[in-house]
Amino acid sequence: MKKIMVGLKRVVDYNVRIRVKPDGSGVITDGVKMSINPFDEIALEEALRIKERGEAEEVIAVSIGPADAQQQLRTGLAMGADRAILVQTDKLVEPLDAARTLLKLIEKESPELVIVGKQAIDDDNGQTGAMLAALWDRPQGTCVSEVTFADGKATVTREVDSGLETIEVDLPAVLTADLRLNEPRYVKLPDIMKAKRKPLETVSLDDLGIALDPQLEIVKTDPPAQRQKGVMVEDVDGLISALKDKGLL
């Protein structure tokens, strides 16, 4: 392979306790620590390993988001990506628009492989990878926990509800990374310094000829309901009647 493209989304760090804005219009991101979506980090790690095995020549990290998403791309470069592209926009980008945008970058870069996270932990949609494969009209392997390459094909192990499923896909293809695919590396100090000198190109949606076409309207954002206090039941009969009272049996 010559090129692997990896999508890195800027999201609220997984350690942060999410709080909803008082007016319910979304979650608070001001002053909150932002990071690479963990599944995307796994996607990048896999691309780097493929390259380090000598099976690819270049890894390109791409992100769609605000100017600050450069930070996440720099981290990606420090991990080992060769160059980065930021499609800069302050707007909310829905999965379909993200897939359309990524497709434009694919047309420009012609990668043989695109890896993205199986979902982003902000909205948990889990759609972008699959939509991208459909728009690109190429095979997809989603929720991947293992992947090998031979003869222009990828053999991927997928995590499905009933266990593991192994499939073969022709390249070029889209893969979406699951949690167990790998454990991403920590960045090394000298690589953080070097990342500054790696190319990071910024383009706008206009440059790519994309007009966002939102399909969704956010009506309201609510925090999860407070957990109710539990009650201790005396015995099994008590449990059964309690469940019946709640209409659960």
Binding site: D30, G31, V187, L189, I192, M193
Partner: protein, 595 residues
Amino acid sequence: MSDYRAPVRDMLFAINELANFENVAALPGYEDASPDLVEAIIEGAAQVAGDIVAPTNWIGDQTGVRVENDRVIAPEAFRPAYKTLVEDGWLGVSMDPEYGGQGLPSLLGIAIEEMLQSANLAFSLCPLLTQGAIRAIEAHASDELKAMFLPKLISGEWAATMNLTESQAGSDLSVVSSKAVPEGDHYLVTGQKIFITWGDHDYAKNIAHLVLARLPDAPEGVRGISLFLVPKFQLDADGNSGEPNDVVPISVEHKLGIHASPTCVMGFGNNKGSVGYLVGEPNQGLAAMFTMMNHARLGVGLEGLAVSERAYQKAASYAKERVQGAAPGHKERGPIIRHPDVRRMLMMMRSTNEAMRAIAYVTGADLDRHHKSPEKEDRAAALARVDLMTPVIKGWCTEMSQELTSLGIQIHGGMGYVEETGAAQFFRDARITTIYEGTTGIQATDFVGRKLLRDQGKAMGLLIGEMRQTLAEAQASTNENVKAIAASLAVGVDNMEEGTKWLFANFQTDINVPFAAAVNMLMITGYVCGGWQMARAALLASKHLDEGTDEVEFYQAKLYTARFFADHLLPRTLGHLATVKAGPASTMAMTEEMF
């Protein structure tokens, strides 16, 4: 056990806004340290400290160390952590690029050090001592020795130790009795050292022991002490570690805290003599060692902050979870954090930690200015400030850590006293920090004797001048919190000035005056320096809030912690000043027999 996440936001605030990283990055030689890299570097280190080092802390405490077959067996759990730090370049952060360091400002090195210390204090001593040794070798060793040792020490492939103490020579090193006899191009060193931190381990392939010893014709006292580099393994023709060098750990101490740090009795030259190399000039060893000690003293001061920070994180999360009786103004039972007294303890920890961090980091920037400023006068001024602050940071931060880690236990109630909770470890670990690298008493003597009296109050005068500038700004503020902080700081600065003046007026009346006043003067200075930096922080915070910021919560919290420090910690200077002015009479009145 307990999670540790580096307080990255507060660290960035201290680095960028209080210590003015931009000015540091503008110094010649720091071109690579562009401000936009700071966050990435701090985040990167925070991940390693939190994910890889911190989980080993409790394991190390429980495993401890032992000596078997002339070797120290240190916790296996630390080995991967050490390896990561070496391989990922986190040990040579502010070391000379000529020898493989990253050449970044000390200011960043200090922040990273804080994280490693919070993550695992016992473990962090190993790289801390190596770094101190690197500084001493850089400053005093021959080019040949530098070439032999610096690259491997800076990368962390080799480690180093500091061998001062002997059973009769602790605070008083003038009676050091280890010996060194010239033999060919080197020396043979013999003697026994005690309390040698990380005196042996095998995480590194070789260990460079810096040893104080006497040459055959050396005069008595401190003017007859020389410094030697004694490797654990002699170097072979290629400069790699070869044959054992007759250096063995004889035993390790059983201690109150830092269980995982081997504190060794070291035997040098018990058989044929250990090959050693002279570092610096003959009989100038103590001066050379002071390069290392000054570095290490700042490092130990930082330990006081680091262990208190971790204790705070644990206490804060417990206080939010532990449910007890209804707090005033509440109807229902609820988390103990609602009780004003628990808040008092948490705020004490939080605000003092922030103040300690501010002092330490600002001094880190002064250290960089001292190393790199193009102006000779600026370099000298920076050094005078670092010299003044070193005993204050070592003494005050470590003394505060006793109180703060104790509060960490108190917040946990009975569970705090139970080892499994983990709060007790921080208290036990903190206890050593006021002792090694010179006890608080020794720091205070250095502060009052060298840094105030011998300096004729010059450095102190400049410090007070700068504080008064901040005061004027704060007094002019329209922010209620900043105004209240200014009022309290004004009293603090007056007290510090009054104490200093009293000292100058009275030190000749009685030989005991400066020594009896020393610790109290040091504590006043610590509180006032902390209060000063918190006032600067409050001014910055109120400016951001006025001008509009997307980090309202962070800057509001900063105003509140600064206000708390002004309300609760600064007033302590009143008590210390009264004690200073009481003089030594009651302290010294009883005869030795009466005890």
